[in-house]
């Protein structure tokens, strides 16, 4: 009856190592490049999307809309109709962002000629990527695909992206660990609230942009400063770069990926390689903007819950009283309750990223699937709710959980790998 102590010890040691690596990360925003420059392995006629792998026939409306827009943006089709046919025909390859060390919010479109933020984890030398946030409303991440969307992406790739890249290089990168720590004390939880960190980034970059931008300086600054979610994409690339070194540790039961494609929720485990463990994407519960009902919402979508894998977002809800009301989660006491509950399913706190309302407790970091299953406490994710119709944008915000079945499958696979029956 006694468990194989050695295996249990190995799991514990592996998880401590995963936790150590996450805490040791030194993420620095180093550049903005075109995706094909940043990710030389990214093939032509390939669309990277949010979440676990998915085929066209199973994609939700916003995802299909965004794919059509991305195909037009890349010039692989002359219009949306042709693009849609092409996408459905199998001519276009679909792959998760995560297979290329990338992440993307909502539909998460990444193709060769889009501008991507580059975050380097200087402790381990790995890089991660995320497209630049497009702003609110009719945008590709919500499935938008008309000329306005495509034009904006082209301007971002040809003007704003290079300008931001030059500014970042000019100041030899922006170390992010400290920005996050400051943001937490200014009321950001980095998933649904990025107002503080977005402002900090404007401060960080304004002078360098002024020195390096070749044109459109005013538009670029307005583009950044007018978007409270500008920092979300930076924090996503940051989170990916920080969790990536914790992937591939034998015996670790720590979750290194959580992502949704609008149809499925998928997780990956440190020690089980590229295997995805999926279940149906859930509907977020929260506050909807006036005029919308739950029937208007799309199931949970986007790679942004990479933030929760390193203790931000829902896990850091106690930092962000403003978000609690926004996502319909109740009172500050409830927010504190969410963060505390997450301590039950994580390896340990991150002492550098602290929660003022929790007596400076570090954010709970490193989800252990065993603890999730043993306690029945599912990771809490703060999320935007998108209209299920493409291109209509956000209709609300709320709280969502991965389905339990992801964790059950992961555990079964883990046990199988280690010959535990």
């Amino acid at each position: 009856m006694a468990p194989a102590a050695s295996l249990v010890d190995k799991i514990a040691a592996a998880n401590q190592e995963a936790h150590r690596r996450v805490l040791a990360g030194d993420p620095v925003l180093v550049d903005v490049l075109l995706a094909r420059e940043a990710m030389p392995g990214l093939p032509d006629r390939t669309v990277l999307h949010a979440g676990p792998p998915i085929t066209w026939d199973r994609m939700c409306g916003p995802m299909r809309g965004a794919v059509a827009g991305a195909v037009v943006f890349e010039g692989w089709a002359s219009n949306l109709e042709v693009a849609t046919r092409l996408a459905a025909s199998g001519e276009i390859k679909f792959e998760p962002n995560h297979h290329y060390d990338a992440v993307g919010p909502m539909t998460g479109m990444t193709t060769r000629n889009m501008a991507v933020l580059v975050v380097e984890n200087r402790t381990f030398g790995n890089r991660s990527f995320c497209t630049v946030n497009e702003g609110m409303g009719n945008v590709m991440r919500f499935g938008g695909n008309d000329q306005e969307v495509v034009d904006r992406l082209r301007w971002m790739a040809s003007v704003a992206g290079p300008a931001l890249g030059a500014a970042i290089r000019n100041r030899k990168g922006v170390p992010l660990r400290n920005v996050i720590a400051r943001g937490l004390s200014m009321g950001d939880e980095m998933h649904m609230r990025n107002a503080a960190c977005s402002s900090l980034m404007v401060r960080e970059l304004a002078a360098d942009l002024a020195e390096t931008a070749e044109r459109d300086l005013g538009r670029i600054l307005r583009f950044i400063s007018g978007n409270d979610m500008f920092f979300l994409n930076i924090v996503m690339a940051m989170a990916k770069s920080v969790i990536a070194p914790a992937h591939g540790i034998p015996y670790s039961t720590v979750v290194t990926t959580m992502a949704r494609n609008g149809t499925d929720f998928g997780i990956r485990l440190s020690s089980t390689g590229d295997a995805w463990f999926t279940g149906p994407a859930q509907m977020a519960r929260g506050l909807l903007f006036a005029g919308f009902t739950e029937a208007d919402g799309n199931p949970d979508i986007g790679d942004s819950c990479i933030t929760e894998t390193i203790g931000l977002g829902g896990f850091a809800m106690a930092a962000s009283p403003a978000v609690v009301g926004f996502v319909g989660a109740g009172t500050l006491a409830d927010a504190i309750g969410y963060s505390r509950r997450m301590t039950e399913i994580t390896i340990g706190p991150n002492p550098e990223w602290t929660l003022p309302t929790l007596n400076m407790m570090g954010v709970p970091t490193g989800i252990d699937i065993r603890k999730v299953l043993a306690t029945g406490i599912l990771p809490v994710i703060n999320t935007a709710i998108t209209n299920k119709l493409p291109g209509r944008g956000q209709i609300g915000a709320g709280i969502v959980h991965p389905p339990l079945v992801c964790f059950e499958q992961a555990l079964l696979q883990f046990a199988d790998v280690h010959g535990v029956h």
């Binding site: 468990p3 249990v8 504190i336 505390r340 039950e344 603890k371």
Partner: protein, 501 residues
Amino acid sequence: MSALINQVRRAFYMDSVALMRISRSVGALPGVATAALMIGSATNKKLMQDAGLLSDEGAAAGANDLILAVRADDPGTAAAALDEARKLLDKPATSDRNGEEWHPKSLDTALRQLPGANVALISVPGEFAAAEARRALHRQLHVMMFSDNVSIAEEVALKQEAKQRGLLMMGPDCGTAILGGTPLAFANVVPRGEIGIIAASGTGLQEVSCLIARNGKGVSHAIGVGGRDLKAEVGGIMTLMAIDALEADASTAQIVLISKPPEPSVAKLVLDRVAGCGKPFSICFIGADDMHVPANAGLSADLRSTAERALAGRRIASSGAPASAAELASRAGPGRTKVCGLFSGGTMCAEAQVFFRRAGMVVASNAPIPGVGKPAAAPDAHVLLDLGDDAYTVGRPHPMIDPTLRNDMLGGALTDGRTAVILLDVVIGYGAHDDPAGELIAHLPPAKARQAILIASVCGTQEDPQSYSRQVQVLQEGGVVVAPSNAHAAELAIEVARRLA
């Protein structure tokens, strides 16, 4: 014909005492025969089945579901009672929901909150208790398991694992322990002293430790081992470890060992170990008085003489003038001759049987000791009932926590034309009801209207939250004769019964 309704609430959990409180309130509604709110574990469903409280709907519930069961005079009353139950269930907890009162959900988080924790006190439903205990042992915690309904195979596995790790595994079904002055679960506030106790009986431990405390001595540690430790399957694993520990403990000068009579093979094992121990023992294998024990040990058949032996032979007596059996007998109603014992402590009931058996009285019990029969087989016997027995605790808290059941049965015994004496134990201390004596008296008719004599003992100490002297006073003012021990109470009842026979 009464009406039974079950309703199932999916994925709902509440601790059993809280559920029992609600069951009691609902059960007390007019027209309601019985109400039980229980989590739908296999064990609970079996209990409800046996109590005629389970319908098909309830039978389909799972271990994460709550079953609300009501039997009432008619369907309308049952439905109304269910509504009331739902209201009580949904009443928000008073303070537990705010941030300050946050409790961890798992052992690991609890350990982060309390570094250096060394004991896990486990009282979850039986089918989950072993897993929790194993988890605690793996984290090098000593375990006290109050939970019962744990299989003997699980008990053996847990105790063997604890032994390998050098840890205490007190229980399952361990009601009482006192470690270095810290009372765990059902325990009394006894002064520190030189007497160590090892007990496979919760109330036995309580009675002996209280008699020691009320007679001027103290207890170093009292280690519960669970009622089955001296069965052949378990082989006394924890009793032997406890002897080792108390032998090594400098504050313990002598050791009291309390259990039901062990199986001979285990008795030999334990007595051999006792013989090899450098400290004197007072051994009580309830009811056993003809067993050979080593030279450094004395054997007593009852709890009082065990305590007296530990008190170096000092006799325990009444503080005031002892009640006269003749005078008491004169108070019994005409034709009344029988003793009815209503015990909340199982070992108290066993001890009383020892005295009745020794006195040659015809006695029966639902929890009979060797030589005693069941009430159904002996209709004219004096009857001593253990109300902590499973048959009485379906969907109800133990009678030490909630005296309602006993108070109800008391009413029945008083009106039964055969009952001359009602024999009671009133157990106080941590875990027990806040004012059992007060509750008891409140349910009694005035002394003049009673046709039976009530004889009780109070198991507790002056320092207990309920206070020994206050409980005694309340009982005496209510016309209850209070004896200085459970043994004295039994002896007095026997004497009264003899005069009436």
